[in-house]
């Protein structure tokens, strides 16, 4: 065997051992990824596909043998159902309040925390994220004590002693105020995440930017609109989309504060009634898919708006 042959052989050996190392890496990668894929396929993908297919089928428990395809009938029935449309309107109010409160209050919290130093900021952050840990049903329960129409209602008590109202109000019974307070009890647990994201966004803006604007004699408001807001755009996008998408799924607080009151019920509440009170699964499928499509559309539109503004 000549030297060159030996070299060629060893090179081939090297290639082979490198190849087998690579093969082992690929194999172990698939072994590591497969369990996660299986659980997601079984419990998310297949049910989602089944939802989609069955939304075009008759699926009424009162008539269990009928399971034929009925085209868009379920969708039409949902869209023509006044209680579904009311649920759409109610959810719209929840989304608007959630988006506005998450943006304004989240940003206010973040700017306040940024103005604090060291230990004070850590304490503030701990107190501010606390509502995030509270289960939705418990949050609804706690807010019901504030809205309570009898003596223990904090809101009535405060407003009465300030002279704003002269007798206790049943806030949750009012169509508008009831929805606003349900939305606020939902925002209570939602805002902390937005505040954290905004705080990180504010921290990432270099001090120099502000220093230069001081030299140029910009007012605080000018600094905010010309430096802070544009540079905060990615954080704004995340908070906006998260608030809207979360609010479409609102259920716990509505249930605890208002039960299945038609003037308060959310899309998820209505879907629940279709499927688990009326046992009309076809209608439930259509409602859940319409809600999912709305979620995707709203997220896409918000992201597009944010990106288009960025190009301008």
């Amino acid at each position: 065997m000549t030297d060159s042959e030996r070299m060629q052989l060893s090179r081939r050996e090297g290639v082979r051992s490198r190849w087998s190392l690579r093969a082992r890496e690929v194999t172990s990668a698939y072994v590591l990824v497969t369990p996660a894929l299986i659980i997601i396929a079984l419990l998310i993908f297949f049910p989602a596909v089944q939802s989609t297919i069955d939304s075009f089928r008759q699926g009424d428990l009162t008539n269990p043998t009928a399971h034929n395809f009925i085209g868009l009938r379920n969708y039409l029935n949902a869209l023509l159902d006044p209680s579904f449309l009311q649920a759409v309107r109610n959810t719209g109010v929840y989304i608007v309040v959630a988006v506005v409160v998450a943006l304004l209050l989240g940003l206010l919290m973040a700017m306040w925390m940024q103005s604090l130093g060291g230990r004070a900021r850590v304490i503030a952050l701990t107190l501010i994220i606390l509502p995030w840990a509270v289960p939705g049903t418990v949050a609804g329960n706690l807010w019901s004590f504030i809205l309570n129409p009898t003596g223990s209602g904090l809101l009535n008590g405060v407003l009465e002693s300030l002279g704003v109202i002269d007798q206790p109000q049943i806030w949750i019974a009012s169509p508008l105020w009831g929805q606003v307070f349900i939305a606020l009890s939902f925002c209570w647990g939602l805002v902390p995440l937005g505040a954290i994201i905004f705080l990180a966004g504010l921290e990432s803006i270099p001090e120099d930017f502000y220093a230069q604007s001081y030299v140029d004699g910009a007012t605080a408001l000018q600094r905010f609109t010309s430096i802070t807001l544009p540079l905060l755009r990615p954080a704004l996008a995340i908070v906006l989309v998260n608030a809207a998408v979360s609010a479409i799924g609102i259920y716990d607080q509505v249930y605890v504060l208002a039960g299945f009151d038609p003037n308060k019920i959310s899309l998820i509440g209505q879907t629940y009634l279709y499927a688990f009170r009326d046992f009309n699964f076809g209608l439930g499928y259509a409602a859940s898919i319409l809600t999912t499509v709305a979620t995707t559309l709203i997220a896409a539109v918000f992201l597009k708006v944010v990106y288009r503004e960025e190009q301008m």
Partner: protein, 286 residues
């Protein structure tokens, strides 16, 4: 004279800072504070008007109602706390068991289709629980999985795996790969690399995703409500609304039960706040 304006400006700034602080902290804590006040009040005291700022005629009886083992409501309460703990710990453990290996593979190993699979995984984050609850319910009825806590745990875990993979992947990817290579050269096995090197460094990410999954599973209401209907499997989130009906006039008991129910997740967030915030932000930034 020239120094007066900045001082005045500084003072205004301090006043604004204080006002905003009162609003922000008030918003965050008043619902909890008011719940505490109600939980220490007698039923008669609660209905007086206008409400005082401290408990109306202080009493321990509301906490006794949910904690005294002689009371049947307390027995249900303890069972519910146990069920919630089982559900939250189970879902968290299962999520990490599925997500950690996958996250490591996506962050460190090159394999065909990894990009596609990751995209697929992220897409499932956009598939909300209400999209899958009806078919899963039909399956559970046929397969006798109603009132089986493990089935609820499995559904909760499947919903959390994509987010956990996402957070953990970015944490592992941000670690220097040289470290693992050096450990291998020093004779460390793959398992050893994972346990001794990657493990401790990725701990903040693990803690962050674990806390997020735990909070979600502890607070879950819709899913356990659909898949369970027996008192033996009732979680705290299901028990609290029934207390609101049963003790409609007795707000103190409702408040005591609710506050005890939020004590566990609140304690977790306060104790692990540092990991939670940094871990989440790292996951969000990539």
């Amino acid at each position: 004279m020239t120094f007066k304006a900045p001082t005045k400006h500084h003072a205004t700034r301090r006043v604004i800072q204080a006002i905003v602080g009162v609003i922000v902290i008030g918003w965050s804590l008043i619902p909890i504070y008011w719940g505490v006040v109600v939980s220490f009040s007698t039923p008669a005291g609660i209905h007086q008007s206008p409400p005082p700022i401290l408990p109306f005629s202080f009493t321990w009886s509301n906490y006794a109602a949910v904690l005294d083992p002689a009371n049947p409501d307390a027995q249900r309460f303890f069972m519910a706390i146990g069920n919630s703990a089982l559900q939250a710990v189970g879902a968290t453990a299962l999520t990490l068991l599925f997500a950690l290996p996958a996250a490591y593979a996506f962050a460190r190993l090159r394999f065909r289709g990894s990009g596609t699979i990751l995209t697929l995984l992220v897409t499932t984050m956009a598939m909300p629980v209400y999209l899958v609850m009806i078919p899963l319910f039909q399956f559970a009825v046929q397969a006798g999985q109603i009132n089986v806590p493990f089935f609820v745990i499995l559904i909760l875990a499947s919903g959390s795996v994509p987010l956990a993979v996402w957070i953990l992947r970015s944490h592992i990817a941000s670690l220097p790969a040289d470290l693992e290579a050096a450990a291998r050269l020093d004779g460390c096995s793959t398992g050893g690399v994972l346990i001794r090197i990657v493990g401790p460094l990725v701990a903040p990410g693990v803690v962050a995703s674990a806390v997020v999954v735990f909070l979600g599973a502890w607070g879950a209401f819709l899913l356990p409500g659909i898949f369970t209907n027996s008192p033996n499997t009732q979680t705290l989130t299901l028990l609290v609304p029934t207390f609101a009906t049963k003790f409609a006039q007795d707000l103190g008991v409702q408040a005591a039960a609710g506050l005890l129910g939020l004590a566990v997740p609140a304690l977790l967030v306060v104790l692990l706040q540092r990991y939670l915030v940094s871990g989440l932000l790292k996951g969000a930034s990539r």
